[in-house]
């Protein structure tokens, strides 16, 4: 009796290992699939409009998604823990406006001080989200839907008491240069986004805390039992998302130069679309920064293609929606296939 149950236990463990291996394989294949989709889009649009294929246009695409990538990296951290941050658009909006206004009022101030202000503000807003979710036990969707509107209202209130719009001519050239400087011929915005993605990607892959984020998302109860501080990890993920939104907001102000209270409205949809299309599981526990970056590149390429093919930009939002739905439907089918494969393997054994 004991031997059979031990044997079953061993078989179960073997199943779990093979399941994990299969999932990892599928994730690799999924990222490859995304690359194939990207190439197909490039090929299709390239045939229709050759100027789509120029290096210049490629740089344009990367430039257009740089800020999206920074926000999507933060969102990935949150989604990995089986939560979601809907307030990112409002956080970017708050920080873009406040930072631009700060530079308008104090044009001679050190650039780093403004950046620090934006990042700190983002960190604080993210920490508020994290407090409400992990210690207040409010579901992330409710908490961040609430702060989406609350933070946006803060920008409007701030704008109503100061100025309705900050123009490019109001802020020091040094601030604008943050987005336009070229290093080795590559715009700094792209380099900053790439650096953030690589640093956070490496941290997630290699550090203990990074792995713990995956553990919390794939099985919150188990993570608690083995002694991970779940509340703190979720809190940290939201705080990191806020911090990255802070940086993104600073860069937003520098890039668009003219900023008002409605800036970055609806950005959360593009960010979630990028993350979900990139194969980060909305139930938490699996997904990579590389995937999210690829997702953002696919969306950016599609937007650029609409432009080049003279399709109305009104299609963009519908496209984001369709991309989110397409990605989750695809993932549902993949998960089913994996489970069915494991089941049939078990039957054979």
């Amino acid at each position: 009796m004991a031997t059979t149950s031990k044997g079953m236990e061993r078989a179960r463990q073997r199943d779990q290992v093979s399941q994990a291996r299969l999932f990892r394989l599928v994730n690799r294949v999924r990222e490859l699939g995304l690359l194939v989709v990207l190439l197909l889009i490039i090929l299709f649009v390239g045939i229709q409009a050759p100027r789509f294929l120029s290096i210049d246009n490629f740089e344009q695409i990367l430039l257009s998604i740089a800020i999206l990538v920074i926000v999507a990296v933060g969102e990935t951290l949150v989604v990995l823990t089986r939560n979601v941050d809907l307030s990112v658009g409002s956080m970017v909006g708050v920080i873009a406006f406040v930072t631009a206004y700060f530079f308008k009022q104090l044009p001679d101030i050190n650039l780093l001080l403004g950046i620090l202000l934006g990042c700190t503000l983002g960190l604080v807003l993210g920490m508020v989200n994290g407090l409400i979710v992990s210690f207040g036990r409010v579901p992330a969707i409710v908490a961040t839907l609430g702060t989406l509107y609350a933070y946006r209202a803060l920008v409007f209130i701030f704008a109503a008491n100061t100025t309705t719009q900050v123009n490019a001519s109001d802020v020091p050239a040094g601030y604008l240069a943050l987005a336009t400087t070229q290093i080795f011929g590559i715009p700094s915005l792209i380099l900053i986004a790439a650096a953030i993605a690589i640093i956070v990607g490496y941290f997630l892959h290699a550090s203990q805390t990074g792995r713990q984020l995956y553990a919390v998302g794939s099985n919150p109860e188990a993570a608690n039992i083995i002694g991970l501080r779940r509340d703190w990890l979720v809190f940290a993920a939201f705080a990191a998302s806020g911090l990255l939104c802070g940086l993104a907001g600073v860069l937003w102000g520098a890039r668009f130069a003219t900023v008002d209270a409605t800036d970055a409205t609806g950005l959360e949809l593009a960010v979630i679309a990028a993350v979900v299309v990139g194969g980060v599981n909305i139930f938490g526990g699996s997904g990579t920064i590389l995937g999210a970056v690829l997702g953002a590149i696919v969306l950016g390429t599609l937007q650029n293609a609409l432009n080049i093919l003279n399709v109305s930009q009104f299609w963009l939002q519908a496209l984001y929606g369709a991309a989110i739905l397409g990605a989750v439907v695809l993932d549902a089918f993949i998960t089913r296939w994996v489970q069915r494969t494991i089941l049939s393997r078990r039957k054979k054994a």
């Binding site: 207040g136 969707i141 839907l145 609430g146 509107y149 939002q317 929606g321 739905l325 439907v329 549902a332």
Partner: protein, 331 residues
């Protein structure tokens, strides 16, 4: 057993007290607050939200959520406007708009039930998709030359009273939904699903079918709200009711419905609707801008979940202390 039901009763009692307080504050702050005209303005402003909150209550009790309602409203409004502008009769335009809502809700429901996808993600996707389609259909234009007989539905009130037509529609619907949720077998099934989906399935409830019907219902009602909204503003625009999902979810949760499903009542939601309506109305009467209003609503949403959570924790701590005190006395 008494322990289990008492917090719910006290939540509704709390809402009644909140409602009375807000009425008193409103009356003190503004002499116009208690006028019949203001009652008309206050109700007609919020009836779309109130109507959409009814199916949302059922959906959240069943353990799901529908974030696409504001976008369905916008899409239905645009379809209505486009058909009217191209010379179709009004009844047909309204009929097709409602049908669009039904199809949109059905699509949500099929994705949730057939593919077992989380409604949260599905309806975030369709929130973007339906709103996007509304923009695709009408661009940045607006249709505004509607006949008076139609706009009366939004502007006008029942002859001889200050009660707007939309309030009558809401009153009829709230009775129907109340009977369905609290007195019918269907209602018991919805609670059962929200409490324990697996147990509900094993006890013979067709969970998928009930959920599909709930999402279709939500779609149709959102489209109906779209018709009323279009009539009230006499304008069909693709950005109609942008962000209304916040208000709808807020009133439902403030009404004491548990976000994880299984608990809540329509009475609580009806009370919450009027509390939110009065808060907005008073802020409006005091000339406080819409932005601060959305700050208030956002905070209300968080507090309506955070408040009970904290109360429960404090209750737990007190209960534990009593238990400890009791056992030490026995020693």
């Amino acid at each position: 057993m008494k322990r289990l039901t008492s917090p719910l009763i006290s939540w509704e009692a709390l809402l009644v007290i909140l409602l009375l307080i807000s009425i008193v504050i409103g009356g003190v702050l503004s002499p116009y607050f208690l006028s019949g005209f203001n009652f008309n303005a206050l109700t007609s402003n919020t009836m779309e939200i109130a109507i959409m909150a009814l199916p949302m209550t059922l959906i959240i009790i069943a353990g799901e959520i529908d974030l696409s309602v504001g976008s369905v409203l916008g899409l239905a409004s645009v379809v209505l406007g486009l058909l009217w502008e191209s010379g179709h009769p009004m009844w047909l335009a309204i009929g097709v708009a409602l049908l669009v809502g039904l199809v949109a809700g059905c699509f949500n429901g099929l994705l949730v039930t057939k593919l077992a996808l989380p409604s949260l993600v599905v309806t975030i996707g369709t929130l973007a998709l339906y709103r996007g389609l509304a923009f695709v259909v009408l661009g940045d234009q607006a249709v505004s030359d509607f006949p008076t007989s139609f706009t009366n539905l939004g502007f006008g009130s029942i002859p001889g009273t200050e009660i707007p037509w939309s309030f009558l529609i809401f009153a009829i619907l709230v009775v129907i939904f109340g009977v369905v949720l609290h007195l019918s077998r269907w209602g018991r099934q919805i609670y059962a699903m929200g409490n324990n989906k697996e147990a509900a399935r094993f006890s013979g409830i067709n969970v998928s079918r009930v959920k599909l019907m709930l999402f279709m219902l939500s779609g149709v009602i959102a489209a109906l709200a779209g018709v009323i909204f279009t009539a009230r503003l006499s304008s069909a625009r693709p950005d109609n009711a942008l962000g209304y999902e916040l208000y709808v979810v807020t009133v439902v949760l403030l009404g004491g419905v548990n976000i994880f499903g299984g608990r809540g009542s329509l009475l609580g939601v009806a009370l919450a609707i009027f509390i939110v309506a009065i808060v907005q109305n008073v802020l409006g009467l005091k000339n406080i801008s819409g932005d601060i209003q959305s700050l208030a609503i956002g905070l209300l949403l968080i507090l309506s979940v955070l408040g009970p959570n904290i109360a429960r924790r404090i209750q737990g701590v007190i209960a534990r202390r009593r238990l400890v005190a009791g056992s030490s006395q026995q020693m």
